[in-house]
Point group: C2
Chain length 478, copies 2
């Protein structure tokens, strides 16, 4: 007799779902092993479009950042006579700066909020970005943005009567964490017909519905640019959202990890911090937690688990509790912290690494834009498929029509129709996408999320294989 089985495991954990690494990904791992063992399959490789993981698909890291990491890690390397033949002079200078400011170096625990030298770099970045001062005491460096989001949700959720407003579709970190903490997810729908826009009427409806169901609605999650939906909010829209947070007493959780990833000419990223501050001192009681990460943008350093959150307008009592929560983890990993420092304080004009930095940055962003346009255009060519522009982030989220006969077969197998479609796509092509049911969607609609991250030469292959599969799938179940 075991202590832990499915019936005796914490039921909040059992109820949580996380499709980005769910059944289809496990199936693709099996195929990967079979291919490695020389098996004959309908495809010769797995193309992972399920997760925003740029470097696994060949994106090169920013060279300056990596040089600094190497230099801080090897004792004495900054002063080694051969160092200048390998490392750029600004990387050596930066490493010396960090070593002077970080007691014990990368191998020691640091302050639970993160090293001050990095929190200052973040604040300087925020001030340049928003035009408003930022206080290092309000910055928490975290093991990726996921950890920060989990911390805020843990603070907010006392029991199942606490509700959190989350967009549908959403990134499943939110639904999974709310489930694990035993809270209630109050969904508000993004409007696919209006480029996945957020309407205040829909937000108010969702708040009302939550309250009618007996929930104390405590926070509003906004993902901007959107994941999986890619939309980029307008400032007008953002002001309305801040106003609702004030009127309805909601903590605003702004997931802004894709702030560097905007691909349309007529839109640009504006932070909720700036919008809130622009609205004046009347709004200094709106509590805002904003999240950023080294994993996205053009940095793409996912494996580093670097990130930060800024906590604006929280009470001193709440700040003290947040500090205690992170102190139980001692500190986030120091190299993730350094990566946050380099992301927010990159080489500037005149530095030895500046040109290479700019060329890497622009190369990645321009290429992502080309790939986003190409994929969206291709999906819109498919029978029964419509796909909004990917204004930002790293994903396309096409709406697909699943034929009646395919829906029936999916039902027989106990699968959602879009999970059935995504599984068939994997089986036929080796391409891994995540079904829309993993993110939430309006009843009766079906989608999948595909990243735009395969390298440009591979994007054509993804398009060709997906198109061929789609035509055959539609014919088979027509």
């Amino acid at each position: 007799m075991s202590v832990l089985n499915k019936a005796t495991f914490n039921p909040r954990v059992v109820s949580a779902e996380y499709a980005v690494r769910g059944a289809i990904v496990l199936r693709s791992n099996e195929y990967q092993k079979q291919l490695a063992a020389g098996a004959e399959l309908p495809f010769d490789k797995i193309i992972p479009c399920n997760i925003g993981n740029p470097q696994i698909l060949g994106q090169k890291p920013i060279h300056f950042h990596r040089e600094v990491l190497a230099l801080v890690n090897v004792p004495g390397l900054v002063d080694h006579p051969e160092a200048p033949s390998i490392f750029k002079e600004d990387a050596i200078a930066r490493a010396k700066h960090y070593l002077a400011k970080i007691p014990g170096g990368t191998g020691a625990y640091g302050h639970s909020k993160g090293h001050e030298v990095i929190r200052h770099e973040v604040c300087d970045f925020l001030e340049r970005r928003d035009g408003y001062p930022a206080d290092p005491e309000t910055i928490f460096l975290t093991d990726g943005a996921s950890q920060a989001v989990q911390g805020i949700l843990r603070a907010l959720i006392r029991d199942e009567n606490d509700g959190i407003l989350v967009p549908i579709p959403q990134y499943p970190l939110y639904s999974a964490t709310i489930a694990m903490n035993g809270g209630s997810l109050c969904g508000y729908y993004l409007d696919e017909a209006a480029s996945w826009g957020t309407s205040t009427d829909e937000l108010k409806r969702a708040i009302e519905a939550g309250r009618e169901a007996g929930k104390e609605v405590r926070a509003l999650v906004v993902i901007n640019p959107g994941n999986p939906t890619g939309q980029c909010l307008s400032e007008n829209n953002m002001r309305d959202i801040v106003q609702i947070c004030k009127d309805e007493k909601l903590v605003l959780m702004a997931d802004e990890v894709y702030q560097e990833n905007v691909y349309t000419e007529d839109k640009h990223f504006v932070s909720f911090k700036k919008v809130l501050k622009d609205m004046g001192p009347d709004f200094d009681d709106v509590e805002l937690a904003s999240f950023h990460s080294t994993s996205k943008g053009f940095t793409g350093e996912c494996g580093r688990r670097g990130g930060y959150m800024e906590l604006v307008n929280f009470t001193a009592e709440a700040m003290e509790q947040f500090y205690k929560m992170v102190s139980v983890n001692l500190c986030s990993n120091i190299e993730g912290q350094l990566m946050v420092g380099m992301m927010t304080n990159p080489p500037v004009e005149g530095d030895a690494s500046y040109e290479s930095y700019i060329s890497q940055r622009d190369g990645v962003l321009e290429s992502l834009k080309r790939r986003a346009l190409k994929l969206v255009a291709a999906f819109n060519e498919l029978e029964g498929v419509t796909c909004n522009a990917a204004e930002g982030a790293m994903y396309t989220f096409p709406k697909i029509t699943v034929p009646e006969k395919a829906c029936e077969e999916a039902k027989e197998r106990g699968m959602a129709p879009d999970a059935f479609y995504a599984t068939a796509l994997l089986d036929a092509t080796g391409i891994v996408v995540v079904p829309g049911s993993g993110f939430g969607q309006e009843d009766g609609t079906y989608h999948f999320r595909s990243t735009i991250l395969p390298p440009e030469e591979a994007i054509d292959e993804v398009i060709e294989k997906t198109s061929k599969f789609h035509a055959e799938f539609m014919d088979k179940y027509r």
Copy 2:
């Protein structure tokens, strides 16, 4: 009106305490700032003995490990013509090996359990250590051992009726995490008079007491070597513990992060995995989670946040839930994973770095042993103080007599007597220790925990300052 203040914050978080980074540490941070600003204080530096953080006190990192980290991080560095003039040949070979086995390198998300190449290194290490096979599917690489412990407790605790057996004194990660998850801590006392031993009678008493209070007792935490108490369990004692877990249906949580840190000639570390397997197939239904970390031992890489857990004898259903839990975090930081790889698979005889590795390893361990002996001897010289030998781990935990008058003054200030003592010690000397009340202790007894980590020349200073302070404190309140 704010959403989050102390009254509206998740009360489970509010109730949690974490003294290792508590009020005395915050006070020492303030002193640190004052010293940096040129203030005149009774001391000229802060000596942090509150936390097992070796590198902040000057312990050097293992050079091989750091070379490998540098080499894997800079694209092309392993093949750079100047690399051999800086890096040892075995470090270059190891870096090439990792780069070949880790798709996307250190900047990509990896498998949620951690990269397979590292999990295999861990299994080889476990097989050498225990003489029993280990399965990479049962290894989870984590952001330090803390994250692993938190995961197991989250799995076990459904509500306040679930009880976890925790030693008193204990490392406050356990009490804090149990509080945050809303479970119940069922304390069992270690016997100070018997070198902080664990008696089965006391364990049975604690289980009974928990059940009488209506708790379902689900797991038993054992810290071996002990933190803060430093004791090293005998195999006999461990067999009794495993038997109790079988008889009482308890998950055994074995915190073995100090397994390299044993300082007595007549004792050595034995893992619970080995003891359990030695007891034969009848015990293959005892669920064991064991934890290890790169932060302790002679590696001391705290800032890396590297660690692993091995899950033995858990059901397939439970393993699936654990996998889902970690997948929500995507993966632990890759450099922490690599550090686990190097800790478990260090240079061997014949490798270019072998001699330097051995010399660093033995140098650290021998010095820690000298420091442990010296500190314990010195504490036993103080009036009203007794201190058990630090058989292992990184701490001394002396019992102090706090005079009646000092207890009264502490009470007036709303402090525990040993917190009052530790605060006075900090104010007089700059030495930071953690009061015993932060770990739990028998009612009416008082202790503090001091690490043995200050470098040897500083240990004398710690002893001298503490002795002078202690004499004055005793005189003042006599």
